[in-house]
Symmetry: C2
Subunit: 73 residues, 2 copies
Amino acid sequence: MAVGDLQKTVGRNLRTYRLQRGLSQEAFADLLGVHRTYMGGIERGERNLTLKSLERIAEQIGVDPRELMTPRD
Amino acid sequence: MAVGDLQKTVGRNLRTYRLQRGLSQEAFADLLGVHRTYMGGIERGERNLTLKSLERIAEQIGVDPRELMTPRD
């Protein structure tokens, strides 16, 4: 695993979560109380999130932060 | 789970890892290529680590970053 993979996995999982609920990036960003462009950066795996930011997001959507860090299929 | 718990869990797990190997904070910091005071802050759960920093540390000690985030008994 290379450094940076974790934020990419988190981004992909958040995107999957959002799409499964049929939400736009904007609606999802609103839901999480963050800016749409910031959320876009997270989904693309470009944001080097802190543990606290990850915790806040995970808490707001009711998932375990470690689950967001786990690659799917 | 409250925001900030994750960094406390990571800190506790790193301290356990270090003590199990009989390393001083200084030796452990050297091993990880970080400063001793920075490492002390991480162990005390005071550092809001980024995912990349967590990945680097986990990689250097050969553990899964998610394992470092998992509370032990």
